[in-house]
């Protein structure tokens, strides 16, 4: 390839993936941030870089510290130790009302005694913007979130989805450097949530603001975010794009949190430069990995295999030495697009396999108590050591 083309490709990557560019300057920076409530570490020594124009998601279960991290960015909590920078400015001691951030609250927190228009205008009024300008900006913003018709209504006359739009408009109107979203779609029902996910992404692309959102819903995070940080007990366990996190998890926690996974515990018995073999007593099989594994023989590893990467057959495959186990079908879950099978292995371990239902008139292939073989390719499993 000519050098110029390569360079352009590189530039492109650096533009769309600033985290892969060593020269890129992070827009938001957490430096060894710790937050203690009494003796409890809500956030424990977190360092994190977020770049401009990103839609960054903090993902984790309840009590993992993701909301505390967000609230420290907004200025509602001060870190016990560590530093937070936004656009190069140290945020220590800067009160919430002077920060270049705005937040969309989980409960939306609309002012109940004000109309939609007044709610959206509130931030501008605080800044002393002229009335004519406020009117113009509010009308424009309500247009963006398609709420112009409801400008004169009070919050209690709106549906949940409409309130969510008003909250979004209110938090965007000051053109903050960073928009913080606390479970932005948490209060909506499933159908509306899916629709709103894409809308929110579109609006983000339109206004170009950096979004940092907190969510416990892995699907939501994967649909919307450019990158995700998975948090657990106050610590970030992994940061990466949705693809990286799903295909290359670094721990059992991440693998389990994003999507579904079968974890087979085993011991490294053969380690070469090109391949590795893990012997799993739990599944009673040898797992062949098509790359070298960092570790010495005898170490415990977990092979993480996604249910959709497993192949289900009624007959014994030709090659059964590696990556093949047999068992009985114990449960079947028909989900329309796919079916989920729970297979009880001879060793007693239960694993989950999903198969797409491609044809409409196909007879169900498997039924309860069927004896089946489950096999997978050498590249299907990721090897985890924690």
């Amino acid at each position: 390839m000519p050098e110029a083309v390569l360079e352009r490709a590189h530039e492109d990557v650096h533009k769309t993936q600033p985290w892969n560019n060593p020269d890129a300057v992070p827009y938001i920076r957490f430096e060894n941030v710790t937050k203690k409530f009494g003796d409890f570490y809500a956030v424990d020594d977190v360092s994190l870089d977020i770049y401009r124009h990103e839609l960054f998601a903090l993902l984790g279960g309840s009590g993992c510290g993701k909301t505390t991290l967000l609230r420290m960015l907004a200025g509602f909590e001060e870190p016990t130790s560590g530093k937070i920078y936004i656009d190069g400015v140290d945020m220590a001691g800067v009160p919430a009302y002077e920060r270049p951030t705005n937040m969309m609250f989980q409960s939306y927190a609309l002012f109940p005694h004000m109309t939609v228009e007044q709610n959206v205008a509130f931030g501008l009024v605080q800044d002393g913007v002229s009335r004519s300008e406020i009117k113009e900006l509010v009308a424009e913003m309500l247009g963006l979130v398609q709420m112009s018709k409801f400008a004169k209504r009070k919050p209690h006359q709106l549906s949940g989805g409409q309130r969510q739009r008003v909250a979004l408009a209110r938090s965007l109107i000051k053109r903050p450097k960073v928009l913080l979203l606390d479970e932005p779609l948490g209060a909506l029902d499933k159908k509306l949530r899916e629709q709103t996910q894409f809308e929110l992404v579109n609006i983000q692309e339109k206004v170009g603001t950096t979004f940092v959102m907190v969510t416990h819903d892995q699907e939501e995070a994967m649909t919307m975010a450019s990158r995700i940080a998975v948090m657990n007990e106050g610590v970030i366990s992994q940061t990466g794009t949705p693809f990286e996190l799903y295909e290359y998890p670094n721990s059992r926690y991440t693998a389990n949190f994003l999507g579904q996974v079968n974890l087979l515990e085993g011991v490294l018995v053969d380690d070469d430069e090109k391949y590795a073999v893990i012997k799993s007593d739990e599944a009673n099989c040898d797992i062949y990995i098509d790359h070298a594994v960092q570790g010495h023989e005898g170490m415990t590893f977990w092979a993480a295999i996604r249910p959709e990467r497993l192949r289900l057959t009624k007959t014994e495959p030709e090659e059964t030495k590696y990556n093949c186990v047999s068992g009985k079908i114990e449960e079947i879950g028909y989900l329309g697009g796919i079916s989920t099978y729970h297979v009880r292995l001879e060793s007693g371990k239960r694993i989950k396999v999903t198969e797409p239902n491609t044809g409409r008139h196909n007879e169900p292939t498997y039924t309860w108590e069927d004896r089946v073989w489950v096999s997978w390719e050498a590249g299907a499993a990721s090897v985890l050591n924690k």
Binding site: A74, G75, F76, P95, A96, Y97, E98, T101, N102, M103, F105, Q106, S107, A109, L110, F111, P112, H113, F122, G123, Q126, D127, P155, H156, Q157, L158, S159, G160, G161, R163, R170, S171, K174, A187, L188, D189
Partner: protein, 277 residues
Amino acid sequence: MNGKRSTFLISALVFGFAFLYVPILLVIIYSFNEGKLVTVWAGFSTKWYVSLFNNDGMIDAAWNSLRIGVMSATLALALGTPAGLVMSRFGRFKGRTMFSGMIAAPLVMPEVITGLSLLLLFVTLEQLVGWPAGRGLSTITIAHTTFCAAYVAVVVQSRLSGMDISVEEAAMDLGAKPAKIFFVITLPMILPALLAGWLLSFTLSLDDLVIASFVAGPGSTTLPMKVFSSVRLGVSPEINALATLIILTVSIMIVIASFLILRSERMRNRAANGSDA
């Protein structure tokens, strides 16, 4: 079985309500009695209402009570609101338990003790600093303010703790400073609670006999004091008429107050689970 239980429940209900309200009903009925004897019915008349309005002592006392009520309810609101705010918004601070205990104390303190201690306070203050000079309307107002402030604090606190704190945080996030947040966001949202607190205080002040008797001075007879003293001389049907008017006023106030509380509660509920609206 079901029918049996409901008969029992209904009779319990009827008995309970009768126990509470028949005496009051009797007072109202007898206020329209023609005769001079309070307990003997002699035909319908409104003459006791007329004679009540010609009784200067009674009217003066009512006027006193009204002034004290308005003043102490207003003062109680000014003192109780910040107290309620501190209790629900300042989180944990040293002495919080003692503070909340001390705010609630006047609610359960026997009135005799409150009255006596306030009397001692006023007398001591007069000797030390010369104020309040003698006892009268102002001392009664101060006394009523002390215990009414406790009620206001409790009402305001409960309203605030039911309020989503992120609404105030949102205001701060959008650039409003704390003092501005209080006046532009918090105050309008707790307005129904403030009105209810004021009405409650006014009613309590209007009602009070014991504390007022302790701290009253010459020329500051309140309505309950006047009624009490005239009953000792023998119950006149005029008192029945007066009682009816008081019941009417108090009921109206209570109805308005509870309506305000109820409405703000409903607004809150609707705001909380409005996704189905």
